[in-house]
């Protein structure tokens, strides 16, 4: 029974990954004869200031966006978990940002943040047109804008995961806590949060891995600029591979990201996964 599945994995995951790895061991130049350079490209990557910067930008993006998304997601989940009139509509509405294709959302944010006709400037400054800020022109606000767009778009996804976690917490535990005289905050702090941990960790896992692969937001909103301030590692890899045509170095970047994510996933599955599984029977 395992054979078809294994074949599928081998053909569509293992082979391309191994092939990319092999490609990364060959030189890009000069000319027609590619020569075997072993781990030369990997050594080059270690000393490439552009790659270092891209890695730092990516890490910053991952840390900032995942943290904010977990906070926002939990907030959203707590709200739509409550019973109120029109909850079904609100729940559906919350998911809209997540349902919009990232490219469309990125394009939308680019327009919203435009220095002349962008809605954000109009809301913040109204008629004081001289105060309008070119958000994507400054390295720091441009980076912030990319994070903001990601948080806007995926907070509802974390919200969904956390909501699933909230729904499996039995109502009786809250009743018991109330009987013991726990305040709303105490109920949240000592009942909800511990029982929510598996869901939160799952959301964290999904979001970190996803954030590491961020590409489309940057591609549409900033093209990595200004001054490479928003150039994430995947975009750098893309430019190297597809625009510059440096197959060896480009795949080296891809393979490195792949390995980094594989290690991260393994770590998560080992530590977080076991916790999630332990909690499951409860």
């Amino acid at each position: 029974m395992a054979f078809p599945a294994l074949t599928f994995v081998a053909v569509f995951s293992l082979y391309p990954a191994m092939d990319s790895f092999l490609l990364s061991l060959y030189s890009d130049f000069p000319g027609p004869e590619r020569s075997f350079v072993g781990f030369g490209h990997y050594a080059e990557l270690l000393h490439d200031p552009v790659a270092h910067q891209a890695f730092i930008v990516t890490l910053g993006f991952v840390l900032l966006s995942t943290t904010l998304e977990l906070l926002m997601g939990t907030g959203i989940a707590l709200v739509v978990h409550e019973r109120f009139r029109g909850r079904g509509w609100v729940r559906a509405a919350v998911l809209i940002p997540w349902a919009i294709p990232t490219v469309v959302a990125s394009q939308m944010w680019r327009f919203l943040l435009n220095d002349q006709y962008g809605a954000i400037n109009a809301i913040l400054f109204g008629d004081r047109v001289n105060a309008y800020v070119p958000w994507l022109a400054d390295p720091w606000t441009a980076f912030g804008a990319v994070v903001l767009a990601d948080v806007w778009k995926t907070s509802s996804f974390t919200g969904l995961l956390v909501l699933a976690g909230l729904q499996v917490i039995p109502e009786e535990t809250y009743d018991a806590a109330r009987v013991d005289g726990a305040t709303a905050w105490q109920r949240f702090r000592h009942v909800t949060l511990p029982l929510l941990k598996p869901a939160l960790l799952t959301a964290l896992l999904f979001r970190t891995i996803d954030a590491f692969r961020v590409f489309d937001l940057v591609f549409v909103m900033t093209q990595g600029g200004p001054g490479d301030a928003t150039q994430v590692i995947q975009f750098y890899g893309y430019k190297t591979l597809f625009t510059e045509g440096r197959v060896g170095y480009g795949t080296t970047i891809s393979v490195t990201v792949f390995v980094a994510m594989a290690i991260l996933s393994l770590f998560y599955v080992r530590t977080v996964g076991s916790k999630v599984l332990q909690r499951e029977p409860a």
Binding site: V103, F215, D216, L241, T251
Partner: protein, 458 residues
């Protein structure tokens, strides 16, 4: 908005995953052919195997970009199909942005897509396409007697190592648009030096502050993309600087002329006249500022003339002038050379028919069609004396000299790499005002030199 479609098709999954099938295909191809990358094809064979011009119907696959004037192109292709009913042109519309178009096209060519016959090459690509063996050499089709009728700069951009790979569809050169009425109001004539431009812009900004608080002195393309390289080439070139040394073998960014020009852009153009918002502008955004009447001076390609005088897009119809770009007092005016060349894929199965198409589209009649209806500057010299062309584009008369002296960007098979290094360098020094220009230039120099050195053994 440019590149929107491209983004849609390529950004939907992670690059890592997208790489895989591509990598597989590439690897498989390399196993089969034994000549993995730059596959120099004997084009004689390619031609011999192609069907001769009989009237069996042929469909040519033409990968083109989303045109600024789609209807003008539709009409041109219709005309071709009327004259050559046995050839059908099937267009695949790629992104408008040069880089996104390049990425899509080169991916097809790396995969040796036999269904692809015709494409456009930006003037910066022939060296790369020739070295990789993607573009069919056109020496036997595009004869020297015919080449003589084109502007020399456009022919030079299609040549690499004594072969010709592209037929110029038009020429582009950077030029200075200005608000004629505004300049007259303040008693200025169009500036001939950059310092004059700064002086005039500031006087006008001062005077117009109450009537139009949104008015800026200058609007150009300073986003981190290919256009930034063109704009900066013009500043550096007009200060007697250059990106590469004269022999094209070394990077020349740390020369004092270059450094001073870059510093001028940072301090005078970005921080005083254009505002840092220009760091997010490509052609269309910067043109929009000008067409809304919010810029005194504007740098753009020839196509902007038509739009600036079209009441549907422009608030400044009839109040616009265009002239050569300014220079520094010790340099000469420099326009970046742009433009698009028709090319035939080395893997095309119908090169003869493809040539029929190119010959038709690059003919004087069709170039006239594009010049009159889309204000695309012809690559054929004779059309600059054509009354109809001049009637639609009176500015060509004065600007012919710009086209004749337009400055090419570095011609090298590794141009995409050189361009990325230049984009990073310029964008960093403009966006981070505290950076040391010399240090950044040194870093860029080192990287460019490394790649140029790799090519020497080629």
């Amino acid at each position: 908005m440019n590149g929107f479609h491209a983004v849609f098709s390529i950004a939907s999954s992670s690059p890592l995953r997208r790489l895989s099938p591509w990598a597989v295909g590439l690897f498989a191809a390399s196993l089969l052919s034994n000549v993995p990358f730059a596959h120099c094809r004997d084009f004689g064979t390619a031609r011999g195997s192609s069907p001769t011009l009989v009237s069996s119907p042929v469909t040519l696959h033409f990968v083109t970009w989303k045109a600024d004037h789609p209807r003008v192109w539709d009409e041109a292709i219709q005309r071709f199909e009327q004259v050559h009913p046995h050839i059908h042109i099937k267009r695949e519309i790629a992104p408008h942005s040069s880089t996104a178009y390049h990425d899509l096209l080169t991916q097809k060519l790396r995969n040796r897509d036999g269904s692809l016959d015709l494409f456009f090459m930006d003037v910066i690509w022939p060296a790369e396409f020739a070295t990789a063996g993607w573009a069919l050499p056109l020496d036997d089709y595009f004869l020297p007697s015919e080449r003589e009728k084109f502007l020399p700069a456009t022919i030079a951009s299609g040549m690499y190592r004594h072969h010709i790979y592209g037929v110029p569809s038009r020429i582009d050169g950077g030029m200075l648009y200005y608000r004629k009425a505004l300049l007259e109001k303040y008693g200025f004539s169009p500036p001939s030096t950059w310092h004059e431009l700064v002086h005039q812009a500031q006087a006008i900004l001062e005077g117009e502050r109450t009537t139009n608080p949104l008015l800026r002195g200058y609007s150009g393309q300073f986003k981190q993309y290919e256009g930034l390289v063109c704009d900066m080439l013009e500043f550096v070139g007009s200060h007697n600087g250059s990106f590469l040394t004269d022999d094209g073998r070394r990077s020349n960014l740390t020369a004092p002329e270059s450094l001073q020009a870059v510093q001028f852009v940072r301090e005078q153009i970005i921080q005083r006249l254009a505002t840092p918002a220009a760091l997010t502008y490509q052609e269309s955004e910067s043109l929009a500022v000008f067409l809304q009447g919010n810029a005194v001076f504007h740098r753009n390609w020839p196509y902007a003339w038509g739009l600036a005088n079209d009441p549907q897009y422009s608030k400044i119809v009839g109040k616009v002038g265009v002239t050569t770009l300014p220079r520094f007092s010790e340099g000469k005016s420099t326009a970046a050379l742009g433009g698009w060349l028709y090319g035939i894929s080395a893997y095309s199965r119908h090169p003869a028919e493809a040539w029929t198409f190119i010959e038709f589209m690059a003919s004087p009649e069709m170039q006239k069609h594009f010049a009159v209806h889309a204000s695309l500057a012809p690559s054929r010299l004779a059309l600059y004396a054509d009354p109809e062309v001049l009637h639609a584009n009176p500015q060509y008369k004065d600007l012919l000299s710009v086209f004749q002296t337009a400055q090419p960007r570095p011609r090298t098979p590794v141009y995409p790499i050189v361009s990325h290094v230049l984009q990073r360098y310029f964008s960093r020094v403009l966006a981070f005002p505290e950076t040391d220009i010399r240090e950044e230039a040194q870093e860029a120099d080192r990287k460019i030199n490394r790649f140029l050195a790799l090519l020497r053994d080629l």
